[in-house]
Symmetry: C2
Subunit: 333 residues, 2 copies
Amino acid sequence: MRETVTLNHVAREAGVSPSTVSRVINGTAQVAPEKHKAVLEAIQRLGYSPNVLAKGLAQGKSLSIGVVTQEISSPFYGEILKGIEQGLDGSPYHPIFASGHWRADREKEALRVLSGRRVDAMIVLDGLVPERELLLLAKSMPIIVIGRRIKGMERHCLDIDHTQGAYMGTRHLIELGHSRIAHISGPLHNKAAHDRYQGYKKAIQEAGLQLDLDLVVEGNFTEQSGVLAMDALFSKTRNFTAILGSNDQMAFGAKLALYRRGIRVPHDISLVGFDDLPGCSYMTPPLTTVRFPTLEFGREAARVILLMLENRPYTLHNFQSQLIVRESTALLR
Amino acid sequence: MRETVTLNHVAREAGVSPSTVSRVINGTAQVAPEKHKAVLEAIQRLGYSPNVLAKGLAQGKSLSIGVVTQEISSPFYGEILKGIEQGLDGSPYHPIFASGHWRADREKEALRVLSGRRVDAMIVLDGLVPERELLLLAKSMPIIVIGRRIKGMERHCLDIDHTQGAYMGTRHLIELGHSRIAHISGPLHNKAAHDRYQGYKKAIQEAGLQLDLDLVVEGNFTEQSGVLAMDALFSKTRNFTAILGSNDQMAFGAKLALYRRGIRVPHDISLVGFDDLPGCSYMTPPLTTVRFPTLEFGREAARVILLMLENRPYTLHNFQSQLIVRESTALLR
DNA sequence: CTGAAAGCGCTTACAG
DNA sequence: CTGAAAGCGCTTACAG
């Protein structure tokens, strides 16, 4: 193990003081051309790379942005993380991810890890952190929340109108002539799941259709739960011609359950998802869905966090959900 | 912005020296019971959480494990990252991810970022980092490479036998009676893609079948390239009854291309993928594929990194690929 | 323009 | 068992 080279080594090598080395590295003050050159050469020769942690300690900042996500491998969160990465690219800040796994205790642990690393700001994706804790946190550092709307920090929350999104998806089916529309909801204690369910109901009722609770089954946002939901649904009735999934993953599961029964999409049954995961385009048929602007939200969160960190003015630009019509929906035959 | 509380504050509050506070926090020496208690209470009262960065600086370690991945949102890398997260869980180490985006310059940048943060070890996923650079890095810290075999560090590389994997997938099709088997390869400059192609050829030739280069088309591991590969293939011939995709994502794309042509899987054409992404189980029909033990590799890499960091003996346990027969393959009719 | 000095928040021999 | 002191690798007033 070679000894790692420090700024002091560079100083000695270049025949200047550490202060001077620091100044040329950070461009924080004028330095005589010849010393400037000597320092640069010494850095080259020694292969020096500054210790970001020490720098952080001295400056009182870590140059890290904490991101509490739920599951690193989730296609949904993955897109948001990608957006954050993109938004931070080119800045001196680097994201540090910690996963909450949709469990309050794990999420608290994630917060602990990040604050122990003295992240300069945080981006929080969904989750169960109590609002007051988030509000408290927001007093001590810049913070953006994606997927929730916290009272008192509306300027720092990025979310779509889930009710409106589900309403659009359901309207789409109604306009195609469907009147018996099933709904696979998310876990209803979840705000987004609840709101999407409201949107579904609103569209149904507004169209003067009968809201049939037998057509509503609850899943947990996983593919597997989509399969199970369809099993439950079919055990009750076959009297429906369309399905609104509360997210894409459950819609994928529903598609499999239909496939197993030899039921064709959209020929026999129309199917709508929610989120617009990358996989939607490659479902067969490609899935009609309500787009959640994951990548955009990630980028926007990063953009604004950076502005906040620089104490510059900012306004968070919210994005809307949007109906993406592909091929899993068709006119009622 | 409240002032953040430090170990010194705790010391003052508890009426002891900073040394003592440090000792009770780290359990690094005996401390009189009453002082021990006082410190714990002070920590509670002040809501103190240690500054991991400062600790790292003092101890000469960062408690971070650098992970260079290619794309954070990729379903393939996502599973590996999840495995790493799981493997590190419960240890004092936290992963820091940096993405190379399959580009040499970005990967170098990722390495720079991680070494600037003085990660204590690294896990490298695939990528283009030159072998000598990896060998050099391995002299200065524990490092595990996933998806490559580097000469001189075989004890620290985790990979499957890609040739063997593709061989198994192709054999499976041959055993089902197929003799006209197309192959959508990955980018052939890529070692894994190349090896998989070799496995395909080997199975074909060993079975005494004709290797027909018209049946081989090159993709780039994305879904979209799978679609395009099928377009290219169909423009040449329709004379095949099975397809081996060099990865699942291209197989998904191929499935869509087949769907668009009204060709049924596996009724008309059998399809085999490679990797066993989570999505395979929800393709319709569920995709027969060759499993790449992503999650296991991630966990194993983390496990061994932890042992190396503690200077304990270790042996890296390699996993094999495995044929997962689902429903996208059938006897030739 | 530049260096000496103090400080960031910890840890760890050292001495008692 | 415990504290004073030095040090980890930087930055930044301060003085010149």
